[in-house]
């Protein structure tokens, strides 16, 4: 396979591991994660930055990976839902979503979990109002958000 001159080499760290990907610069980070890196936990819900199902952390900041050209990932630190657990042990946010009904169909869950992780890093014990505000960019159609808010609140309590 000859190298396609339009493809650029992009280097970044993905869940702590170095990645060298060859991709068209404007390829969505979402596609690189799912197709080149084989991490399909990050979901596509709308492809236009509305639903948050594709949420990942870039240098600790919550972004919609469907709106993020891979060229901008150069030299940066990407975290996805696959990077959260330590061995068999779930991350406290994952554990809390599992115990408190935060996941139903699961399609919004990886993005929602990443948003919750991001919030709890910024603010370990958020108020209910702060959780509602922070998660308002992540749509869920199953839960009515009640158990998601419970899960995030309890994860905050458990972690501190």
């Amino acid at each position: 396979m000859g190298a396609d001159p339009k493809r650029a080499l992009v280097r970044f760290r993905l869940n702590g591991k170095p990645i060298r990907a060859r991709a068209y610069p404007l390829t969505r980070l979402l596609d690189v994660l799912r197709e080149e890196c084989g991490l399909t936990g990050t979901k596509e819900g709308c492809g236009e930055g509305e639903c948050g199902a594709c949420s990942v952390l870039v240098d600790g900041e919550l972004v919609n990976s469907c709106l993020f050209p891979v060229v901008q990932a150069e030299g940066r630190r990407i975290e996805t839902v696959e990077g959260l657990r330590r061995g068999k042990k779930l991350h406290p946010v994952q554990e809390s979503f599992l115990r408190h009904g935060g996941a139903q169909c699961g399609a919004c869950t990886p993005g929602m979990v990443m948003a919750a992780v991001s919030l709890l890093r910024e603010k370990p014990k958020p108020s209910r109002a702060e959780i509602r505000e922070y998660l308002s960019g992540n749509l869920c159609r199953c839960t009515g958000y009640v158990k998601i808010l419970d899960s995030v609140a309890r994860a905050g309590e458990a972690e501190s």
Binding site: R34, L39, T40, G41, T42, K43, E44, G45, C46, G47, E48, E50, C51, A53, T80, V81, E82, L84, R85, L90, Q94, E95, F97, L98, R99, H100, G101, G102, A103, Q104, C105, G106, A107, C108, T109, P110, V113, I131, R132, E133, L135, S136, G137, N138, L139, C140, R141, C142, T143, G144, Y145, V146, K147, I148, L149
Partner: protein
């Protein structure tokens, strides 16, 4: 039972390991897309494949390539997989394309030109009723029902008061977060195998057989993890699965079809828009003396499931109220919009919206409270419904209302809001709605369906539930495992639930109609009991046993007699009798009963309505898993809030104009109030351990409760949903302007 065990597939979902359809990749797999019409009605004269596109590399399928029947098998044989000469709606599939490179495919899609001769479309219920253009059958009517009890015409002349109203509901998009998708492998030698995001594997199986002219054993359908359905993945997956399989059949390669969100929203089914006219005779206390209801649904271009949706809507049209004289005339009509279909509630949210708004209208016209008018009419045990079904189980609406009123502060707030609403930027209101929802298929439906589910044991002592009912987020895997574990007296952790695959699980009927727990769960319970009886009768197990003894019995049985599997088939309860011709009798074996209260505030500057608090009280029989059950109610209420206040499908020339999440608005975490859920468990005679259906119930009451609250807040009675800020503005400014 009654315990909050961990969701079976929960860990896979929170870690991202769960595999949804778009997460699967097969060697040699290529991608498929659909070429669609861009006019709502016309003649298709031909297709041109133009542009700078490597057409020789692209697999193209048109109607002529179909090996079997070009029909999506459903109630009527009216919908083709690919248009053949005629176009009936703006998203009609006319051809299919496949190629390994999705960018090439997108270019190709834009380069197919359709030669069409447009015909005048029928786009509204009134146009369809007028029959200036007949677009379906002889009269544009997919189905009609006439349900009669007593004789309303004998009442009008002597009626103390007559109250009339018209109520309208819009289309609603299911908006599961995972879009529709399927992967197919197909060839004349191997038959057809489809993996997909779907609710009903045997519906897809039934549709693929005639499409390819194959026997049942050469078609296989496997459900992958499914990211929400809500009815949207009930009938539509038969279409996308068929399309993917046609491309795979012709190309000889695995084909993946995943709809981008805009295509999913534009092309797949939505909740039927409705119009209901109610004429009622009441006495001075608001008691219903007679009801005449005309209930119309817009079915779109093809029949799909409209007759069944219409049926449920018709039976629920008089609400949870007793009335001796009822006539319901209902029709599902054809228009040139993409077909409407199943969505949680299935016709009942539409007709219950109408009767609940009508109860408020009666209250207004008689100067009574909405609660008082309902109390005067709510069904009690021993009363008969509109289908003359005698309600034999305990129905305690006064108790449900009391619980809802206590938790919501209904009565105090009715008084305090009336005082505080005289001025200020925010006006507040509180409203209630009372509903029932029939569990399982209507009338003789379960009887005809004869669902089968089973349980098997392995030599290692594990138990596997075998069913075609799907996990779509609502908790099927978890409650089935709980039911089997409890019946067998073993640990929940020792039970697995088989992936729905038509090669290895029986046909349990579709995953719809609030039937999974009550009907199929009961079969799982019976099958588990069958396993236990076999082991006990075979002398392998005592009446009481430990986990180790159970495991030992399984392995001894395997050694002695091989595998042990128990399949159970649905047997109707003796009391269920249904007259399909006259729509009389036991419409449902049982109902869930509910009283919901919504509290809202209306911003008099922005005209935004927000729901501040929500109380949902329901009697649903035994609650198998309180956390999952509450999650069902909360999610349904949020969809109901969207239905009432946000979700507006904008139609332009028979096409959804706002087919994006950017401009079709569903509730976010900020738009959803605390939803407080309370269960009563009065009745225990149906379903496994006494559980009734709950999945659809929460969709029924939010919209009317919210509009009732809005009416209290600003004194405007809306009879059409959604109510958007601009509707509030027009109503208030119109009133001010005179």
């Amino acid at each position: 039972m009654g315990k909050n065990v961990l969701r079976k597939e929960g860990a896979a979902k929170v870690t991202g390991e769960a595999r949804y359809i778009d997460d699967l990749r097969f060697p040699g797999m290529i991608h498929g897309v659909t070429v669609r019409s861009d006019i709502p009605r016309g003649k298709l004269l031909g297709l041109r494949f133009e542009g700078d596109v490597p057409w020789n590399e692209i697999t193209v399928v048109t109607a002529g390539d179909i090996p079997g029947e070009n029909i999506v098998t459903m109630h009527e044989k009216d919908q083709p997989y690919l248009a053949q000469g005629e176009i009936h709606h703006s998203q009609e599939p006319v051809a299919l394309l496949a190629h390994p490179d999705r960018d090439v495919l997108q270019r190709a899609l834009r380069s197919v030109k359709l030669d069409v001769e447009p015909l005048p479309p029928v786009l509204t219920l009134d146009d369809s009723l007028a029959r200036k253009h007949v677009i379906w059958g002889k009269d544009n009517v997919f189905k009609s029902f006439r349900l009669q009890k007593g004789d309303p015409s004998s009442i009008w002349l002597s009626a103390p008061r007559i109250v009339e109203g018209e109520y309208v509901t819009g289309a609603q998009e299911q908006l599961y977060i995972e879009p529709q998708g399927a992967i197919a492998v197909a060839s004349p030698a191997e038959g057809v195998t489809v993996w997909g995001s779907l609710q009903c594997p045997y519906y897809v199986h039934k549709a693929l057989k005639p499409l390819f002219g194959l026997a049942g054993d050469r078609v296989r359908v496997i459900q992958t993890e499914t990211g929400g359905g809500f009815g949207g993945k009930e009938e539509y997956p038969s279409v996308i699965a068929g399309h993917a399989a046609l491309l795979a059949w012709k190309s000889g390669r695995p084909v993946k079809m995943i709809y981008p969100r805009d295509e999913d929203m534009a092309a797949t089914t939505k909740r039927h828009p409705s119009r209901t006219r109610i004429r009622s005779a009441v006495d001075e206390k608001g008691r219903l003396l007679a009801l005449e209801i005309e209930f119309l649904l817009d079915g779109g271009a093809y029949c799909t499931l409209s007759p069944v949706v219409l049926s449920r809507g018709t039976i629920h049209a008089s609400g949870p109220y007793r009335c001796d004289h009822v006539l319901v005339d209902s029709r599902a009509l054809a228009t040139n919009t993409p077909p409407h279909g199943a969505f949680r509630g299935f016709g009942a949210p539409q007709s219950l919206f109408a009767i609940e708004r009508h109860m408020d209208r009666i209250a207004r016209e008689l100067g009574l409270s909405p609660e008082a008018v309902r109390r005067a009419n709510l069904l009690r045990s021993g009363d008969t419904t509109a289908t003359s079904q005698i309600i034999r189980e305990k129905v305690d609406f006064p108790g449900l209302i009391a619980t809802a009123a206590r938790h919501s502060g209904l009565r105090e707030k009715c008084r305090s809001f009336a005082r505080s609403n005289r001025g200020g930027r925010f006006r507040k209101g509180i409203g209630l709605a009372c509903v029932m929802h029939g569990a399982g298929f209507t009338g003789s439906g379960e009887n005809n369906l004869k669902a089968v589910a089973g349980v098997e044991i392995t030599p290692e002592g594990r138990v596997r539930v075998l069913s075609g009912s799907t996990e779509i987020g609502q908790g099927t895997n978890t409650i089935f495992a709980q039911i089997a574990a409890d019946a067998l007296g073993i640990s929940y952790d020792d039970v697995d639930v088989a992936q729905p695959d038509t090669r290895s699980v029986p046909d349990s009927g579709p995953t719809v109609a609030s039937r999974t727990c009550m009907i199929v769960g009961k079969l799982v319970e019976s099958a588990a009991n069958g396993i236990k009886d076999t082991l006990v009768r075979g002398g392998l197990l005592g009446k009481r046993y430990t986990r180790a003894q159970f495991k030992a019995a399984c392995s001894r049985h395997a050694a002695r007699a091989g595998s042990l599997r128990c399949l159970m088939s649905y047997e109707p309860p003796a009391s269920v009798s249904w007259d399909d011709a006259n729509y009389r009798g036991e419409a449902y074996a049982t109902y869930a009963w509910a009283v919901y209260v919504a509290e809202v505030s209306v911003d008099m500057v922005t005209y935004r309505v927000s729901v501040d608090d929500f109380v949902a009280v329901q009697e649903v029989g035994k609650v198998i898993h309180p956390l999952l059950a509450a999650g069902q109610i909360e999610g349904g209420v949020a969809q109901g809030i969207g239905y009432a206040l946000y979700e507006n499908v904008v139609w332009k020339d028979g096409r959804m104009a706002n087919n994006q999440m950017t401009n079709y608005i569903i509730p976010t975490s900020l738009d959803t109030p605390p939803i407080r859920v309370f269960f009563e468990e009065d009745n225990r005679e149906h379903g496994p351990f006494g559980a009734k259906g709950i999945g659809e119930l929460p969709m029924d009451a939010p919209a009317p409760a919210i509009l009732s609250a809005v009416e209290m807040a600003i004194g405007v009675s809306f009879d059409k949903i959604p109510v958007l800020p601009e509707d509030v503005m027009h109503a208030l400014e119109g009133r001010r302007g005179g």
